[in-house]
């Protein structure tokens, strides 16, 4: 692979590129699903190709190809330079890259059991057994299970001399029960909705989930939701389960801190951000107990945003985003770092595949654990609503106003969970919401959740991001808006 990389970089230089970086990537994926006791999807895929990004005449060009011959790669590199020269026809400023060292390294994400070595029969048997457990419950009208495994090898080379090989193994698994009754569809998922939990782990992730124990629980809850009371509409106290809080972090902290959005580079599609440059170190983003980091290092955990180097050849880092409630940092790359006074990229350039340009992405954007025991948090809540497992999510294009709904809610009265609520939802303004946080559970309740489906960029790229969170409490939140009908 290094020969292909060298060939591409040499061709780019010869054609007039002042900088180039190239990624050869080999992606393997296996998908298994069941539905109502039958196998649904059963497929695997592999894709290998090369993408090269170059600077020529002070502007960017990128081209990719799956023709991994000497001629194919040279033509691709030449095309990238031609495209960069075309970009220069509509440029306003020269691209300036923050300095970075070159690295020669090889890294593999840790895993105990290679999911591609586990017999398919074993994987399917587990899914079908969990599916059967859910179907045992009266009132369940649809059962679904899924597993997804990925193995990604990438060879990164740049014209400053880096040669970095990384191998990542990613696993995901989840189950869901749906119940249609009367004029209502209710659904419960485990351990999270939209495909379950996803992490930079091997098959041990699946084995840690205990699907068989949880299958009847979610199935019973799905059926029971029909007779639960409607979540009231009010201003009140909200406790969010960890997985829902993970998505709240993703949407209302992770996206607004992307410096490309802040600088208007996503204005046409993903949107911009309320976190304009003057807010850095000035904005009180959250209450003083809130600390958020963007941490791609393995030390933070095996999340979907964990790696050794980003796709621009910058080592993984931990960046303070919110420190004691104050806004402290953005996600940057080599091109944007200097615009916020940094002398180095924060290492967040990531690409979906060999045929996509690396763009600024969340790594693991996590809320650090607090001090509360979960039982104490419930006991301390006189009147509130606990919401768990995301059902819908939406936020405006500058990341101010959001609305989430969850699969299930629980009324908390006098320090106890007293009854189930259906159709829970809440909404708010990002900074008002985070400033209302008054309790965060401790590390024992903290999970590094994986969001495997974050869409951004044109052409669209899907990326996995990590979000550590533990159950937390928020005061004076608008509750029940999604189902209000005034």
């Amino acid at each position: 692979m290094w020969d292909l990389c060298t060939n591409a970089l040499d061709t780019a230089k010869l054609r007039g590129a002042s900088y180039g970086d190239v990624r050869v990537m080999h992606l393997r994926q296996r998908d298994l699903t069941t539905k109502n006791g039958q196998v649904g999807t059963l497929s695997q895929s592999e894709s290998i190709g090369l993408g090269i990004r170059v600077l020529a005449n002070g502007a960017w060009g990128f081209a990719s190809t799956d023709r991994l011959t000497r001629e194919g790669v040279a033509a691709c590199a030449a095309q990238a330079v031609s495209i960069a020269k075309a970009s220069a026809l509509a440029k306003r400023e020269e691209v300036i890259l923050a300095p970075e060292q070159s690295y020669v390294d090889s890294w593999q994400s840790p895993f105990r059991k290679d999911p591609f070595e586990i017999p398919l029969e074993t994987q399917l048997a587990l899914l079908l057994a969990a599916d059967a457990e859910m179907r045992r419950i009266k009132g369940v009208t649809l059962t679904e299970t899924d597993m997804q495994f990925r193995k990604i090898d990438s060879w990164f080379a740049s014209s400053i001399g880096s040669r970095i090989h990384q191998r990542k193994v990613i696993s995901g698994c989840g189950i869901a029960a749906t119940s249609f009754q009367g004029e209502e569809i209710q659904k419960r998922s485990y351990p999270n909705s939209f495909g379950g939990q996803h992490a930079l782990q091997g098959y041990e992730l699946v084995q840690s989930l205990d699907l068989m124990k949880n299958a009847p629980i979610v199935a019973e809850e799905a059926a029971a939701l029909h007779s639960a009371s409607q979540c009231p509409e009010k201003i009140g106290t909200l406790i969010l389960g960890a997985s829902q809080l993970g998505l709240q972090i993703h949407e209302s902290i992770g996206h607004p801190i992307e410096l490309d959005r802040v600088l208007g580079q996503e204005a046409n599609f993903a949107g911009t951000s309320f976190l304009t440059l003057d807010q850095l170190n000035q904005l009180k983003y959250a209450s003083s107990i809130v600390n958020v980091v963007a941490d791609a290092r393995l030390d933070h955990g095996q999340g979907l945003g964990t790696f050794a180097y980003d796709d621009e050849g910058v080592p993984a880092q931990c960046t303070d985003i919110i420190k004691d409630g104050q806004f402290r940092g953005y996600l940057s790359n080599r091109e944007t770092a200097h615009l916020v006074g940094l002398d180095r990229s924060s290492g967040t350039m990531r690409t979906e595949s060999w045929n996509r340009l690396p763009i600024i992405r969340m790594t693991n954007v996590s809320l650090l654990p607090g001090t509360w025991d979960y039982d104490d948090l419930i006991a301390d809540t006189h009147d509130g609503i606990l919401m768990e497992t995301n059902r819908s999510w939406s936020i405006d294009d500058r990341r101010y106003q959001f609305q989430f709904s969850t699969e299930i809610g629980w009324e908390v009265k006098g320090g106890k969970k007293v009854r189930m609520l259906k159709n829970p939802s809440y909404s708010g303004i990002t900074t008002e919401f985070w400033n209302s946080c008054d309790a965060i559970c401790k590390f024992d309740h903290w999970t590094l959740w994986g969001t495997p489906n974050c869409g951004k960029g044109q052409p669209m790229q899907t990326m996995g991001t990590g979000h550590g969170a533990s159950p937390s409490r928020f005061r004076n939140v608008r509750i029940g808006t999604a189902f209000s009908n005034q």
Binding site: T34, G61, S484
Partner: protein
């Protein structure tokens, strides 16, 4: 832009243009190779998809191109059948060893599972209607031409003291499908898109077009429209949330009604996850709502065959407000005692089928007439981040974006801060007062479809944001 000038530039800069797609005989050769290899590996039946794409996209922001990309890729996806079981394996390597390994992987997957009682034999040869959606000038558009068009759009923004961001893209793709019973289908198309957001201080507006034919729209006109609307959008004032009469431009309509298409899948009803459960055959929407799935409509794109190689059929989904028909894959049709409609996804999958080419019957109004007829209401340019809140009542939430305007006494009187909506699509399609002509609409949440602008009363805005 003049076509003659285009081809001249393209010829001078071939290396920045898309590579040529494989010819049909080469696609047949790849499929033939797979079928021959599969025969010797014990596959009882085999189906092969070959998909090739060559796309390019220039992205601009802050009045300059900041990303500019091109890609070329080809995948071979192989489904084998063994003893009542099936599975799929996909590769982008087309040497014989890789194809053989992919066949073996597919067979290994297939054999690892229990028998599938719904699995049908692969279909035999089919006949397809011809559609021509491959437009040479679109395929030939070069990076330099895109850059010059972007430059002109950005210069207009700069002249107005505004900031432009957007994309200009073009590409070509093809799909071929063959199976061990002699079925062969092939389709190629071109595609192009220009989308522009203009910011003027905190205000913004947007315009976008998408077509197989790059000559079907003028990026400069779209840029001028976005500039004009962005200027109108300054000094937005805050209104109280509540129920309003809205005039939804086609993009806003598309991104909402695009969430309906899965509900017309027979499998979705069988799974009891469609909003049409117990609701077909009776008046569900207003009598002015008629929806057809028509892959042959001149404003539509996409192959005239589905994931199993069956020809797509026109299906009347909603007739004057009454859901009349569903779409069926082969398996769903057999289970329901119906005929398949050519809307199946590639097997194996758990979703079955969906109509992908929705065409709404339009009306004789227009956005201008709708505004003129409105005493008080809101003109909506575009919607954003739409998600389903209630799957049976089809309540959707989302935001307005890039241009929300107050209409008073038949005139646009100013800009309004963006709202969040929580709105049932079923209710909305009962409240449509006026429809414009159906056009090829493009947004960000749904596939391009053919929908009209709509004037709708009692549209529910639940909250307001800060801009």
């Amino acid at each position: 832009m003049k076509p003659a000038a285009k081809s001249k530039v393209a010829a001078a800069s071939a290396s920045a243009s898309s590579p040529e797609l494989l010819r049909e005989r080469e696609l047949r050769r790849i499929i033939g190779s797979v079928l021959r290899l599969a025969k010797s590996t014990g596959a009882e039946e085999t189906e092969v998809h070959v998909d090739e794409v060559a796309d390019a996209l220039s992205r601009f922001a802050n009045n300059a191109i900041h990303q500019n990309v091109a890609e070329h890729g080809l995948t071979v996806s192989i489904r084998t059948v063994a003893d009542g079981r099936t599975a799929r394996a996909t590769t982008n390597r087309i040497d014989e060893d890789s194809l053989r390994a992919t066949i073996e992987a597919s067979l290994s997957l297939a054999r690892s599972q229990p028998k599938n009682p719904r699995l049908l034999p692969v279909p035999a040869k089919q006949h397809y209607s011809r559609v021509n959606r491959f437009i040479k000038p679109t395929a030939a558009l070069s990076a330099e031409e895109r850059a010059r068009a972007v430059r002109r759009a950005c210069d207009l923004a700069v002249k107005n003291g505004q900031v432009a961001a957007g994309i200009y893209s073009n590409g070509q793709s093809q799909s071929a499908l063959g199976n061990s019973r002699g079925l062969f289908a092939a389709y190629r198309e071109t595609h192009s898109e220009f989308s522009i957001t203009i910011q003027e201080g905190p205000a913004a507006s947007w315009a976008k077009a998408n077509s197989a034919d790059v000559r079907a729209y003028d990026p400069q006109k779209l840029a001028a429209r976005a500039c004009e609307k962005a200027h109108l959008a300054v000094n937005a004032r805050e209104l109280a949330p509540g129920r309003y009469t809205v005039i939804l431009e086609p993009s806003a309509v598309l991104d909402l009604v695009g969430f309906l298409f899965y509900d017309f899948a027979a499998t979705a009803l069988e799974d009891k996850r469609s909003c049409l459960i117990d609701r077909t055959g009776r008046q569900l929407f207003g009598q002015n709502i008629t929806i057809t799935d028509d892959g042959y409509h001149p404003l539509q794109q996409g192959a005239p065959f589905d994931g199993e190689g069956l020809p797509r059929q026109r299906v009347l989904l909603v007739d004057r407000g009454i859901p009349k028909n569903l779409v069926y894959s082969r398996a769903a049709a057999k289970a329901a005692g119906k005929q398949p409609t050519g809307h199946g996804f590639a097997l194996p999958n758990e979703y079955g089928e969906a109509p992908m080419n929705l065409v709404f019957t339009g009306g004789d109004s227009s956005v201008e007439k709708m505004v003129a007829s409105t005493e008080r209401g809101l003109l909506v340019t575009r919607l954003w981040y739409i998600r389903e809140v209630d799957p049976y009542e089809k309540v959707m939430t989302g935001m307005t974006r890039d241009g929300l305007f107050l209409v008073e006494n038949g005139k646009v009187t100013g800009a309004v801060r963006n709202f969040r909506f929580n709105q049932s699509l079923i209710e909305m399609l009962n409240n449509v007062e006026l429809l414009g002509p159906a056009v090829r609409a493009t947004g960000e949440e749904a596939f391009e479809m053919v929908v009209p602008a709509m004037k709708v009363h009692n549209f529910h805005f639940s909250e307001v944001t800060k801009f």
